[in-house]
């Protein structure tokens, strides 16, 4: 585990068992207008966060097809985050209402399939909520470290 990461871990998280140096890969889908802005402010505000997140920017959370999520898992993501504007704030009127529907299906399929609930999460984060974004990534990273690598990770992928 490299230093810049351990610096950012809360006391509670630091007490958790460490999977010697293993850093999970977290794919975070962010919408252009809110949660991507949140990710940006997390960086600008210098909130500490692990380097585990791979951010994929989409114009609206409503653009996130369940297929994208499956693909991330099949390619080796240890967790996938679906994020967007708060309900009512979507810049395309109701894109995130549709996200909620798709997510309901995704969540159920993932759960039935046996993918732990920590590995797929939904969160609404506005452009100004940099700290919320950073905390979210940090929390998920810790949860996944406890779980270990995803069972869907292809052989040979770390």
């Amino acid at each position: 585990m490299n230093d810049s990461i351990s610096d950012g871990i809360s006391a509670e998280a630091a007490a958790a068992p460490k999977t010697d140096g293993w850093e999970p890969k977290i794919v975070a889908f962010c919408c252009n207008w809110c949660s991507y802005g949140g990710a940006d402010s997390a960086g600008m505000g210098r909130f500490q966060q692990p380097a585990s997140a791979r951010i994929i920017r989409v114009m609206c959370s409503g653009r996130i097809d369940p297929l994208h999520v499956f693909n991330a898992f099949l390619e080796g993501a240890d967790a996938v985050l679906v994020t967007g504007c708060h309900i009512g704030d979507c810049h395309y009127v109701n894109g995130n209402d549709k996200t909620k529907i798709k997510y309901k299906y995704l969540e159920n399929v993932a759960h039935e399939l046996g993918i732990e609930k920590e590995r797929l999460q939904l969160n609404w984060i506005s452009a100004s909520e940099g700290e919320k974004f950073a905390n979210f990534i940090r929390d998920v990273t810790e949860q996944i470290k406890k779980l270990g690598p995803s069972p869907l990770k292809p052989a040979g992928v770390v």
């Binding site: 499956f70 159920n108 039935e112 046996g114 040979g156």
Partner: protein, 384 residues
């Protein structure tokens, strides 16, 4: 005649009445619709032998009249057969056929205004290959010697060419892994009130047993269909007796209860190792695509998400094809069993697909194929 009314009826053509599953009413109603040009075509099963038949779309009244009789080991599904053909058609339909037809109509592949759906009560159907094996193993008779088959008082009876009858209870057969297809055991639409008219032998009493069909009119189209057959002189009907109505309702309730019990038996909750279970089951999939081709609720055609984003050479731990289908069918799977029936490597697909469908449909309070409600996936806002 109108919605909600019930009758007991039979064919006026002696040979059709004799050959019919119970009185030949369905056959005669279909033939009359064709004859009087209510429809341009009718779908019927063309018999190959005691266990096999192919569905055909025909405009020949005689071919319709010849099709009388129930084939319990022909688990076909007619929904896709009439999809995208823009037909003015009448057809017999088990519960799962009806549900497929309704789902295809939601996807604009079938126009219900031009489709007369004659529902058949259905206690279940059997797989033809399994039936042959069952005859040899359980009944100790050669499939070729079978002359006829019927279900009576919970027993499946085969008649051989030498005139002898061979009976075994369905419970015993199913205990040994034979009998009805697994999906039929937990299917809970026994009387298809989602069709224009529901026909079956439950509720037929006294002297008429085996010689008449009990019908319930479910729609204005259903009423027209029956009235036309009466006017054309093809069928005769009378009011059912109260006892019959009560018996029919009771059997329906019992069968639905049994279906629920089977559901709990087949879908035992799994805690750990679910992913491994699905991986193991799908391990031998050869990507033939047959399960999608037969699926009566899918209307994507050749180019579809499940196939276009699936690459056989990937090193993925789970098939993208099946993942996409698990999700797409979560709200739309009607549990018809077609996918399991056709899989060349015998993957129990319906059992896998229903795992996802059971939870999602329960949560969303959505029952595909029962009414016109669109799949929740296409709603702008989720109400439940």
């Amino acid at each position: 005649m109108q919605k909600g009314e019930m009758y007991v009826g039979w064919s006026t053509k002696e040979d059709v009445r004799k050959r019919g599953g119970s009185g030949g009413l369905v056959t005669s109603m279909l033939a009359a619709a064709l004859e009087k040009k209510m429809v341009d075509a009718v779908v019927v099963l063309k018999k190959i032998n005691e266990f096999e038949a192919v569905p055909v779309i025909t405009s020949d009244v005689n071919e319709v009249l010849n099709s009388a009789g129930s084939l319990h080991s022909v688990p076909s599904n007619f929904a896709k057969l009439i999809a995208n053909k823009n037909l003015k058609v009448a057809l017999p339909a088990k519960g799962c056929d009806v549900r497929g037809i309704i789902e295809q109509s939601k996807r604009n592949a079938i126009n219900l205004d031009n489709t007369f759906v004659v529902g058949l009560n259905c206690g279940g159907s059997m797989h033809p290959v399994v039936t042959r094996e069952m005859l040899e193993v359980m009944y100790k008779i050669k499939p070729e010697d079978v002359h006829g088959e019927e279900i009576e008082k919970g027993k499946l009876i085969f008649e051989t060419k030498d005139g002898k009858e061979h009976a075994i209870t369905i419970d015993e057969l199913e205990e040994k892994g034979y009998g009805r297809r697994e999906s039929c055991r937990y299917c809970t639409i026994k009387i298809p009130n989602n069709a224009d008219i529901a026909c079956g032998n439950w509720g037929v009493t006294g002297d008429l047993v085996g010689k008449a069909t009990f019908v319930e009119i479910n729609s204005e189209k259903g009423a027209r269909l029956l009235q036309n057959a009466i006017d054309a002189g093809y069928v005769q009907v009378q009011k059912p007796d109260e006892k019959g109505v009560a018996i029919r309702a009771k059997i329906k309730g019992t069968m639905e209860g049994l279906g629920k019990k089977w559901k709990d038996k087949v879908f035992v909750p799994m805690d750990n190792g679910r992913l491994e279970y699905f991986r193991k089951e799908l391990e031998h999939c050869i990507d033939c695509g047959a399960c999608k081709a037969v699926c009566p609720t899918c209307s994507c055609g050749d180019i579809s998400k499940c196939t276009e984003f699936h690459y056989r050479g990937d090193a993925y731990k789970m098939s993208m094809y099946h993942l996409v289908r698990f999700l797409h069918l979560a709200d739309s799977c009607i549990g018809c069993g077609q996918c399991s029936d056709v899989c060349p490597v015998d993957i129990p697909l319906t059992r896998l697909y229903r795992r996802f469908a059971n939870t999602v449909q329960e949560q969303l309070k959505y029952e595909p194929g029962m009414d016109q409600r669109k799949p929740p996936y296409f709603e702008a806002k989720l109400e439940v």
